[in-house]
């Protein structure tokens, strides 16, 4: 993922280029915003798709309300989708949009602050009636008040033009207006010279059973496109060219973190030669993984929508006991409920992959917002001395590889393990060079064979310390396991004091053994020693990457270290960090990973913490780096 592309930088410290050049842009950030019912997520996804198909690099950030469909016109019902695309490696969805598409006053109100000074606002004047203005909390129409004077405002009566474009299909007014987003999409596709064909294909598929709806949407799409082409709007609404990125050759697709995670788990199960049994209970933003895997039955994937998170993990453990790859997935509150059962999986030494799609906490918190605040829970959150490996995915496409690594660890070490992702990763999309599955190293598990003489369930591999996996159905290996302390050899219940000490030590030693089996920590950018190491983990990869890149471009002595193996840490970590004067740890939490580094290495850390449900801004990070370097 980290390729060193020399390139020019925006001066405001963000992962985007000011849209000052009209004809050829290096990168552009567009935010589509409207009512939950306006279909902004679909619009954004389709724009992304068309853009990706042209070989432009991109990153996206969908941001939607907790409400399913809040009442029309309210500010809390505004749904937004931001895309940053360009002619170079794009690492984040961009700090500030260049273009804001606001489908109603509420969307304008909520998103205007984010827009870059001098940016462009496209508004649907048809939705700026008194009722909507009031609902959005505007006393005065912002289109008339002068509030928008710092921006290029393009006022279009999109509602009316949409109605016009679909009138031949005889839809009700309400239904016809639903195509507004496609009209807008058509216009934006024209503006940035993208093709409509993939959108048309998608509409035909989606509305296969209601061809008149498909036709109307396509008509609106075409009308928007045609409007751009025919309307004599120069300058402000002229066509822009965004160059192609210099991306590696290969076959690409767009992928979200949730998709990539599902593919990675299936790939991992195939490499381990196991079937997957996912036990899960719906919860935002983790449900998507359940949905994805429920569609992969043809790959031997069984999904169980349990009655709750406890049943979900217990079923997954039961499946592992019976010889499947048990997987369970949830987010913070649901993972909390699984705590007791994780202890059982540790005690019985069964493989299990636990996926936590983190969201804003504590408690119900901010379910649709992103955060990294479940790291403590992952590393420490259990009763007893109960160590467990933890790894974190850092980008949508990288979830695939993180998932494979999770399966490898769980099966090789006979241990439950936690894979951290977050709401941002789950929903964000990026172009993904499709990996060649055949080049991935398989790690098939071997169950104990039938009728072994002197079989003992808790005998173990000398290197990994992973115990025997003997599954029900195998003659001659009948045995019993449970959560009471077990004899280190037979696995029978043992209350002996020495045995408990031995087993406690063994559980710790297993983690140490894994520590010797994970790759040494590498450096993403910069030198192996220097003034500042910016140490991150998880989905902050993009903003940190760009921030360090910019700081380095300014000549600062700063390096980026991004950690996948949270627990145990890579063996060279201490040495690596000791080569820097300052260790800066940016996290979307109150300093949780920093606690681990401090405890383990007794090094002081400079914590940069942001807990507001939003990804870091590149410019903020650059500013913090400058404090140290």
């Amino acid at each position: 993922m980290a390729t060193n592309l020399a390139q020019s930088q925006a001066s405001d410290g963000s992962d985007q280029i000011a849209s000052s050049v009209d004809s050829e842009l290096e990168s552009v950030v567009i935010r589509f915003a409207g009512d939950s019912g306006d279909g902004m997520q679909l619009t954004g996804t389709q724009f992304t798709h068309s853009t990706a198909l042209m070989g432009t690099d991109l990153a996206t950030f969908p941001d939607f309300p907790a409400e399913i469909r809040a009442p029309a016109g309210t500010t809390f019902g505004v749904s937004a989708y931001q895309i940053n695309f360009g002619a170079r490696k794009v690492m984040t969805a961009g700090d500030e949009p260049d273009v804001l598409v606001a489908m109603n006053p509420a969307a304008l109100k909520v998103n205007l602050d984010a827009l870059k000074p001098g940016g462009t606002v496209v508004v649907d004047t048809g939705s700026f009636g008194a009722r909507n203005l009031t609902k959005a909390g505007y006393d005065e129409n912002p289109l008339e008040s002068g509030d928008l004077s710092p921006f290029n405002v393009i006022e279009l009566d999109i509602s009316k033009m949409t109605l016009e474009s679909v009138k031949e299909f005889g839809l009700s007014n309400k239904e016809a207006l639903r195509s507004k987003n496609m009209w807008t999409l058509g216009l934006m596709l024209w503006m940035y010279g993208r093709q409509r064909s993939s959108v048309v294909d998608w509409l035909r598929g989606k509305f296969a059973k209601r061809p008149e709806v498909a036709d109307a949407n396509i008509a609106a799409l075409n009308a928007g496109h045609a409007f751009g082409e025919t309307a004599e709007l120069s300058g402000d609404l002229g066509q822009r060219t965004v160059g192609k990125a210099e991306v590696q050759p290969g076959v690409y697709r767009t992928i979200t973190g949730a998709e990539s995670l599902a593919l990675g788990l299936v790939a991992g199960s195939k490499l381990a030669d196991l079937n997957i049994m996912l036990g899960s209970y719906p919860i935002t933003p983790a449900s998507t993984l359940l949905h994805q895997l429920a569609n992969l039955k043809q790959h031997g994937v069984v999904t169980f929508q349990a009655e709750d998170e406890i049943a979900a993990i217990c079923a997954a453990i039961g499946a592992s006991f019976a010889g499947s790859l048990g997987v369970t997935s949830s987010s913070g509150p649901g993972i909390a409920l699984k705590t007791e059962a994780i202890g059982l999986a540790i005690s019985t030494e069964l493989p299990l992959v636990i996926v936590n799609s983190q969201r804003g906490g504590p408690s119900t918190g901010l379910p649709t917002k992103t955060e990294q605040s479940d790291l403590y829970q992952a590393v420490y959150g259990r009763n007893g001395d109960a160590p467990i490996p933890v790894i974190a995915a850092s980008a949508p496409g990288e979830c695939f590889f993180a998932a494979i690594e999770a399966v490898r660890i769980a099966t090789k070490y006979m241990t439950p393990m936690i894979l951290l992702t977050d709401g941002y990763l789950a929903n964000a999309a990026e172009p993904w060079p499709i990996p060649d599955f055949d080049t991935l190293e398989p790690f098939p598990v071997s169950f104990v064979e039938a009728n072994q003489e002197d079989f003992r369930a808790f005998r173990r591999d000398e290197t990994t310390l992973g115990r025997n996996w003997a599954i029900p159905g195998t003659p001659g290996l009948e045995h019993r396991i449970g959560g009471i302390e077990k004899d280190y050899d037979s696995g029978n219940i043992s209350y002996a004091a020495d045995n408990h000490q031995r087993m406690t030590d063994l559980r710790a030693a297993k983690i140490e053994a894994l520590g010797r089996d994970i790759p040494e920590q590498g450096i993403e950018q910069g030198d192996a020693t220097g003034k500042v190491a910016v140490v991150g983990w998880g989905s902050t990869y993009g903003p940190i990457y760009r921030a360090v890149e910019m700081a380095r471009a300014e000549g600062l002595e700063v390096s980026q270290i991004h950690v996948r193996h949270i627990w145990p840490l890579p063996s060279n970590m201490e040495e690596l960090l000791s080569g820097f004067d300052h260790v800066m740890v940016p996290e979307m939490n109150n300093g949780q990973f920093a606690t681990i580094l401090r405890d383990q290495f007794l090094i002081d850390t400079f914590n940069v913490n942001q807990v507001n449900g939003q990804p870091f801004k590149v410019s903020d990070l650059v500013a913090r780096i400058k404090e140290l370097a």
Partner: protein, 341 residues
């Protein structure tokens, strides 16, 4: 199947070398014996049999069965069993639980495993008390029960496990008594034969914390008059000389006890047990043991439907047949792709 052991196994072959750790005189011993006999009777394959339990005295059960076993955590055994069956539907799963494990902390999993009709046998050891934690009242304890946590008597209504199971959609309900070594194996074999979730409530005496709580119908002296053992298709009689019976109260939606001779009735006048009738089962478990009514035992309800695990497997197989060539490459390349060269 274990091809190496063609020799017929006896009850003893299902015992492990682990020392049995219940209190001397505990009803659990008798149940263990009956279960081991049942497995021999049905010619169970130890390699293919899994006992799963939660936590409690009763939940120690798997350690004493020479099969596969999983002593899990409190109340969650049905969920583990679900995972086991989804991973390998060919396994024969028995679940052992107590009134605390299965109906207090584990009530929800019990509800859902019954509703889904997972194919397994659930043995609920009901001793109306928390044994392992030293005698607190449980959801099946009778109101007024004095215990360490209810020193002035419990003020909770007691749950009727069979009625709860029926309300949860159970399709097989049976009841038996720890000491009834003669009939228990037959009841358990029926539970095993039923494909789907089979719920068996076993009245179990906790000699330490709740001794003789079932004596009013299990004592030898009163047993015949205080127990009905149901048989499908047979008129419902009881008493030492089968002198009593149950019939529908004429003109009412209720059941009543009759004395055949005294009331000049014959067995033709009596209710004929129909185990496929869910509503009759509900009635029976609701009147069972109430004023003047004996306790209803045996197979109360057996009305099979397709099991959850079978249906899941069917869907997986259908998907695999529909896409016989589903491989990782196809999956990775699904949807729109583009090439950069």
């Amino acid at each position: 199947m274990n091809e190496l052991s063609p020799k017929k196994l006896t009850a003893k072959d299902f015992a492990t070398d682990q020392e049995v750790r219940w209190c001397p005189g505990c009803g659990d011993y008798a149940i263990l014996k009956a279960v081991q006999k049942t497995l021999a009777d049905i010619e169970a394959d130890p390699a293919n049999t899994v006992f799963i339990s939660g936590i409690g005295c009763s939940s120690r059960f798997p350690y004493y069965m020479a099969t596969y076993g999983f002593h899990t955590i409190h109340g969650r055994a049905p969920a583990f069993a679900t995972g086991v069956k989804l991973a390998n539907p060919d396994l024969d799963v028995w679940l052992v639980t107590g009134d605390g494990d299965g109906l207090s902390i584990g009530g929800n999993h019990m509800l859902h495993v019954l509703r889904r009709n997972l194919d397994l046998q659930i043995l609920l050891f009901n001793n109306e008390i928390y044994g392992l934690t030293k005698g607190q009242y449980s959801p099946t304890s009778r109101p007024g029960t004095r215990s360490p946590s209810s020193p002035t008597g419990s003020v909770e209504s007691s749950l009727n496990p069979a009625a709860f199971a029926l309300g949860s959609g159970a399709r097989f309900i049976a009841r038996t008594i720890d000491t009834d070594q003669k009939r228990m194996p037959g009841v358990l074999a029926r539970a095993h034969a039923h494909k789907g979730a089979s719920f068996v409530e076993i009245f179990q005496n906790c000699i330490v914390f709740n001794d003789a709580i079932f004596a009013d119908f299990t004592d030898k002296a009163v047993a015949a008059d205080r127990q009905i053992f149901l048989e499908h298709g047979q008129p419902v009689t009881f008493g030492k000389e089968s002198q009593f019976g149950i019939r529908r109260t004429p003109g009412d939606l209720t059941l009543e006890v009759v004395n055949l001779e005294e009331q000049g009735l014959t067995t033709d006048d009596l209710l004929v047990h129909d185990e496929t009738d869910h509503l009759l089962a509900t009635m029976l478990v609701n009147v069972s043991g109430t004023e003047g009514f004996p306790v209803v035992l045996g197979v109360i309800c057996c009305n099979p439907g397709e099991s959850y695990d079978t249906q899941v497997s069917t869907q997986v197989e259908a998907a695999q047949e529909a896409k016989p060539n589903a491989d990782m490459k196809e999956l990775l390349y699904a949807g729109s792709t583009w090439e950069v060269s």
